[in-house]
Amino acid sequence: MKGSLSNISRIKGVNAFFLVDGNGNVLDRNFSSKMEPGADKKLSKAIAACGSIYLSISPKQFRYAAFLRRNNTQVFIFPFGRHLLGVVTEVGAQNPDTDRMAKEIFAILSKEKT
């Protein structure tokens, strides 16, 4: 696990996270509950594909993206150096607090960069 990146799993509401390269290869991962077989591979490919599109819109100003799903879980994508970080939230939150969670992840990522 890369330094303090493992602290992401301690954020309230985080279920899993993946660190992926530009091709969707998983460099690091952490799940607190099991995912469906094959779901992590699909997800890591999507994180890489979407991340590269956001970075093509604005390579320096892209902060994060969040997908809201019908079961109220969210999937975040953050740029992290030359890689991308995907964070999956837990099922159950009625009003997902996207911004609060994003800020907490940012704080960890900025520590990791310094």
Binding site: A39, K42, L43, K45, A46, A49, C50, I53, Y54, S56, I57, S58, Q61, F62, R63, Y64, A65, A66, F67, L68, R69, R70, N71, V75, T98, D99, A102
Partner: protein
């Protein structure tokens, strides 16, 4: 919107295409009666206030809203209210890339309802109404201000415009 059959009185849900020049024109789903009657003025006003055009007209009245547009894969930008400094080709390119990224996400997670992207200090809220057509609203806040949030949710739930 909800209208009632003149013949049997049954409730009918109709889309804006069935409101023609202030008249409700529809065939009752229960009895098959061909209705064609004027709507009360209040109902007409509410119906106008719930159209996409209306929401785009009032976008710049809220200081937290930066703009918005609808991107259609085959037609390009069909509705637009964006700051003047952006060129039409920039908006088209932005719409195309946001649509591509939402589609990539949908491949892995078909139950995605919407997508938010933070670029610089601007939040881009993206939803797909149907395949190939996307609504993009841009705000300075992490949550869309009311009533735009309601408008966006209607879009994400793929509901017909309702009063």
């Amino acid at each position: 919107m909800i209208v009632f059959c003149e013949d049997c009185g049954d409730r009918n849900q109709v889309c804006p295409a069935h409101i023609v020049k202030g008249r409700a024109v529809f065939i009752c789903h229960a009895c098959g009666y061909h209705n064609d009657y004027p709507l009360p003025l209040l109902q007409q006003k509410k119906q106008q206030e719930n159209t996409v055009d209306h929401w785009f007209q009032v976008l710049d009245r809220d200081p937290q809203m930066m703009g918005g547009f609808i991107y259609d894969i085959s037609k390009g930008i069909t509705v637009c209210r964006m700051p003047d400094l952006l060129l039409p080709e920039d908006i088209h390119s932005l719409g195309s890339r946001l649509a591509q990224s939402l589609e990539q996400g949908l491949l892995a997670m078909p139950d995605i309802r919407s997508m938010t992207v933070l670029i610089s200090d601007k939040y881009f809220f993206v939803a797909r109404e149907k395949k190939g057509q996307y609504l993009v609203l841009i705000a300075l806040t992490p949550n869309l201000p009311e009533p735009f949030c309601r408008f966006f949710m209607q879009y994400t739930h793929k509901k017909e415009w309702q009063i």
